[in-house]
């Protein structure tokens, strides 16, 4: 089973802290239950094209995914992040692959057309 953690709008600094807290708790619980974790973030926010609050959340989710991979990649933890255009949903096939294909792990899966030519961290 795959736990999906999706970025939501963060209008305030409190919302930034709350979203990152909730993502941490949800991912920790998922790992403890041996479930895969797929984060979904807005590519424009990863690039920094939106609000500073939304960019912080997107960057934080990216960092959390990488931290989980760094710690658990050799223990069988399975985590990825899908970057989508704002308002878009992650493609179901990509989502399924992100949560199940062993060789796709710890990656940023960029499904954003608008980010072509831009730097994703």
């Amino acid at each position: 089973m795959t736990v999906i953690i999706k970025q939501a709008p963060a209008p305030s600094l409190t919302d930034v802290a709350t979203q990152l807290h909730d993502a941490f708790v949800a991912s920790r619980d998922a790992i403890e239950s041996a479930e895969a974790v797929v984060f979904i973030a807005n590519a424009p926010d990863l690039i920094g094209q939106g609000s500073v609050e939304d960019a912080a959340v997107a960057g934080g989710l990216l960092g959390l995914m990488r931290a989980l991979m760094f710690e658990g990649g050799t223990k069988g933890w399975h985590v990825n992040l899908i970057a989508v255009d704002r308002g878009e949903e992650a493609d179901p096939e990509l989502l399924a692959a992100a949560g199940a294909v062993a060789s796709i792990n710890g990656q940023v899966l960029n499904a954003s057309v608008a980010s072509i030519g831009k730097v994703i961290p």
Binding site: G48, V52, A56, V57, L64
Partner: protein, 243 residues
């Protein structure tokens, strides 16, 4: 002791890295406002002043708006335009993921990320055109063991940097420095064999120094970096590329 480049605010200025950055910026010609929640920052300011470096200090807790107001008031009292902000304050509360408490996650996010965002946004009206913000991220933003909280905070700080750079351009530049393994009290406390193993993985063949980081901060703060905006300068001796 004549400052010509305006006021530079450095947070976390009571710590080793903060002190080195503050001294470097003072040497560059800024009047440095040292900010820290630790009252020991008074001794740092006194030491710099004794050495002929222009420095004043402000003890402030940046976990709420009152702390930001204290810093803003201190900047006004300096009597020079605010031209540089270095968000250097940071903490670690390391633990493996399954043993990391909610409180330790939240605290690191609050200090390393939210406080930096709150201060930066709170000082917006004080920055003059041509100013520079330098956020202290970390090479660990790319991933690190037992640091889910720290990595999240430092990666989020990169996001903040990139977005604010676009929002405030062209008036204020916003960049980040991402240090790798640096010779600080934290690394000095590591077992020597562990430290040696880590250093062996650094292509530069040595651990970084606080001065290495301060040089990067000095550059990004300066007019020499006038065309750099929204970037992360990784100061890691090549470690972020090596196996």
């Amino acid at each position: 002791m004549t400052a010509t480049r305006g006021c530079a605010v450095v947070t976390g200025a009571a710590g080793g890295l903060g002190v080195t950055i503050a001294r470097r910026l003072a040497g560059d010609g800024y009047t440095v406002l040292l900010v820290d929640v630790n009252p020991a920052v008074q001794e740092v300011a006194a030491s710099m002043t004794a050495d002929g470096l222009p420095a004043v200090m402000c003890v402030a807790d940046l976990s709420d708006d009152a702390g930001v107001a204290l810093v803003a008031d201190a900047v006004v009292r300096v009597g020079e335009p605010l031209t540089v902000l270095v968000n250097n304050a940071g903490i670690t509360r390391d633990a493996r993921l399954l043993k990391m408490s909610d409180a330790d996650f939240d605290l690191v996010i609050s200090v390393n990320l939210i406080a930096a965002m709150r201060l930066t946004l709170g000082l917006e009206d004080l920055f003059v055109p041509g100013s520079s913000v330098v956020n202290m991220s970390s090479r660990a933003a790319l991933g690190n063991f037992g640091q889910a909280n720290y990595v999240t905070s430092k990666s989020a700080l990169v996001g903040f940097t990139r977005a604010l750079a676009q929002r405030w351009a062209p008036r204020v530049r916003v960049n980040a420095v991402a240090p790798g393994l640096i010779d600080t009290p934290m690394t000095q406390a590591m077992p020597s064999d562990v430290l040696a193993t880590l250093v062996a993985k650094i292509p530069a063949g040595r651990i970084g120094t606080p001065a290495d980081v301060a040089s990067a901060v000095s550059f990004l703060a300066s007019p020499d970096a006038a065309y750099l905006n929204g970037q992360v300068l990784t100061v890691c001796g090549g470690r972020s590329l090596a196996p």
